[in-house]
């Protein structure tokens, strides 16, 4: 067994197991930790696929930013850190069914489909090439993504910023519920 195969198997195992823990861990904080593990694994896969730049980006952005953000959010919202009675909803059997069904469908499609692969060696200096492309062929999406990030920034700011009316917000929402209940009673 060559080292590539070995590395792939190890990484695949790591990713799958970590992912399974992400979706099934009782404690959401543990889920976040396993997510970081899985994301590291994906970065490893990128290395195997000879995409070092991407692996770096994965670690920096995903592991460094997104996951940390999630952990913050977990801490901000976890009133009772653990010991939640039910961490899954009632969709477990059907969810399992559908995700397994889709998995079967995907794997079957994969096996039945010949994909024309090229034996050519991957381009050397992918990172440099990427940088070039960002500024030439893909300059438009590159610009758009900056607008996108700006939008997300402003949006998150608007949404997350404490509203001076936050106190009254609770009243509003309290008023919401009876209205809905009334409506339901009419129905």
């Amino acid at each position: 067994m060559d080292p590539i195969t070995l590395a792939f198997l190890a990484l695949a195992f790591l990713i799958i197991v970590a992912s399974l823990f992400v979706v099934s861990s009782r404690n959401i904080f543990h889920s976040a930790i396993f997510l970081i593990l899985a994301l590291f694994g994906v970065a490893g896969i990128f290395v195997l696929l000879e995409a070092p730049f991407l692996a770096a980006a994965q670690v920096l952005i995903y592991v460094g930013a997104i996951s940390i953000l999630m952990i913050f959010a977990v801490m901000l919202t976890a009133r009772i850190a653990d010991g939640q009675l039910r961490y899954t909803n009632e969709q477990v059997p059907t969810g399992l069914l559908v995700s397994l069904g889709l998995l079967v469908v995907m794997l079957y499609s994969l096996w039945q489909t010949p994909i024309p692969t090229s034996a050519a060696a991957p381009v050397s200096g992918a990172g440099r090439k990427l940088g070039e492309l960002f500024l030439t062929q893909y300059v438009l999406p590159f610009e758009i993504i900056s607008v996108l990030l700006l939008t997300a920034l402003i949006g998150a700011l608007v949404i997350a910023k404490k509203d001076p009316r936050a106190a009254s917000a609770a009243d509003d929402s309290a008023a919401d519920v009876p209205a809905r209940e009334r409506e339901r009673a009419v129905v």
Partner: protein, 492 residues
């Protein structure tokens, strides 16, 4: 790497001028919002309006002067782009006008509201023109990103927050599904450029005499991604809840501008990129269109909230629009584009009526529309007109749109789909007529009169002109659309 080519640079950026215009002014509006101590309600709105008008004019100007592709064929400004950009910008203008009241009631973040609308509109404009999957995908994300926030903009309201959450979660998975589909298309064809995909798909078909299952899977994934943007059944589930919870101008924005942009992208992807795989998706689209018409109309009947009713009705409307897609030819593309146009004015108008009504009464319940004709004859007349257009009663634009769509489908041999469409349109008539009846044939006493604010009246008048003008004098416009559709299909 070639040397920097200034001419090409200019040509590229000239084509993308409307988007740039909109973006730069969006930044301006945003800056203004942070500068002002107490943001005047009308100021950022006025700026936004001028911005959009400017973009509209720019779009027309670019459409007239610079016809062609840019950025290495990832972005085009063809006639179809002009048509849909005008539709999208029309939707944005009407949204901006009708938001004035809503924004006035916001305590904070007034400027950001318009800024986000404009940024989202930039994404929509880009969607209309993108001819490459990556650009398209990111444009879609840009347009949705602002909408997530806007849906949750009434921060004091639980419903609005809930709308935002539902939208962002389902948006996220749809985005992932779409991305997965894009990945597979790329893997199977080796490219992300729609024109190249078309050839590659043709090659796959020629060499194997069919499509591998993964191709079908990729198609389904991409379709599901678009289904989310279009609120096409069964991917529509988010729509009623988000429509109900979001601020009503945003609901209108979602249901019109966002869908129009998605339809343009749909045309580019399915009528051009996946054209040679048509046999694999036509049946699917037909089934989904039928499902949309049935589910949308049937569920709309039992609604008691007007926004939910309109949400389900727009699920049905998307079904009608996609009836045109089974034709896969110039007729189909023309029918879809014209329907989108008719739908823009009618649906937008209907939502503006809802805004006008709830601004004065604070209610979105259908029951409260009882006797509206006596309380505000003008508003009731407008609303009735828009509902009739949605039903497809002449001489409104909705009638011709339905006629055109059905004609395209009959011509393509999908008689059963047309029959489903016609039967469900009777159901649609039933619930629209219920509202009209409530307004005009009231039971019991009616309350005080309702006045409509000036800005909303303006928006209503614009919509009415649209509904009637394209219903009565569609000739030149439809000719133009048809021309656009021909050019799209010819691959120019």
């Amino acid at each position: 790497m070639s040397a920097f080519d200034l001419t090409k640079f200019y040509a590229d950026w000239q084509i993308i001028l409307p988007e740039c215009f909109l973006f730069v002014w969006a930044l301006f509006v945003l800056t203004l919002a942070t500068l002002g101590k107490k943001d005047e309600p009308g100021r950022s709105g006025t700026f936004a309006l001028w911005t959009i008008l400017g973009a509209l004019i720019t779009a027309v100007w670019v459409g007239v002067t610079a016809d062609g592709a840019a950025f290495g064929g990832t972005f085009v400004f063809d006639r179809l782009a002009v048509v849909f950009k005008e539709v999208v910008l029309g939707g944005v203008i009407l949204t901006a006008i009708s938001s004035i009241g809503t924004v006035g009631r916001l305590e904070v973040h007034r400027g950001e509201y318009y800024g986000l609308i404009l940024l989202s509109a930039v994404g929509m404009l880009l969607m209309v023109s993108a001819t490459e999957l990556l650009t398209l995908y990111i444009a879609i994300e840009l347009s949705t990103m602002g909408l997530y926030v806007l849906a949750a903009y009434h921060k004091g309201s639980r419903r609005s927050a809930e709308a935002g959450l539902k939208y962002v979660i389902l948006g996220g998975i749809s985005s992932a599904i779409l991305l997965y589909g894009v990945a597979w298309l790329y893997g199977l064809t080796g490219t992300t450029n729609l024109a190249a995909i078309k050839d590659a798909v043709m090659n796959i078909y020629m060499s194997t005499g069919g499509f591998p299952p993964a191709m079908t899977l990729a198609l389904i994934f991409v379709l599901a991604g678009f289904g989310f943007k279009l609120a096409l059944a069964p991917f529509h589930m988010w729509a009623p809840d988000v429509y109900e919870g979001a601020p009503t101008p945003i609901t209108a924005f979602l249901s019109v501008a966002s869908k129009a942009a998605a339809l343009a992208a749909f045309l580019r992807v399915f009528f051009v990129g996946l054209e040679s795989a048509a046999m694999a998706w036509t049946q699917m689209i037909a089934a989904l269109a039928a499902l949309g018409m049935i589910v949308g109309n049937v569920t709309a009947i039992v609604q008691t909230n007007i926004k939910r009713m309109l949400a389900y009705s727009s699920v049905a409307q998307i079904g009608y629009i996609l009836v045109g897609a089974v034709a896969r030819d110039t007729w189909g593309a023309t029918a879809i584009s014209f329907y989108t146009m008719a739908y823009l004015f009618a649906n937008m108008g209907a939502f503006i009526c809802v805004i006008a009504f709830s601004e004065r009464t604070g209610s979105d319940e259908i029951a409260d529309y009882n006797g509206l004709a006596a309380r505000s004859p003008v508003l009731a007349a407008f609303f009735a007109l828009f509902l009739l257009s949605l039903t497809g009663i002449p001489p409104t634009a909705g009638f011709l749109a339905k006629y055109y769509v059905f004609l395209a489908a009959v011509n393509a041999g999908y008689l059963w789909l047309v029959i489903v469409g016609l039967l469900t349109s009777v159901i649609a008539l039933y619930y629209y007529a219920t509202v009209i009846r409530k307004m005009y044939f009231p039971s019991g006493e009616t309350a005080s009169t309702i006045t409509v604010s000036k800005s909303l009246t303006l928006a209503l008048v614009i919509s009415t002109i649209g509904v009637l003008f394209f219903g009565v004098f569609p000739g030149p416009f439809v000719g133009w659309i048809q021309n656009a559709a021909q050019m799209l299909l010819a691959g120019k």
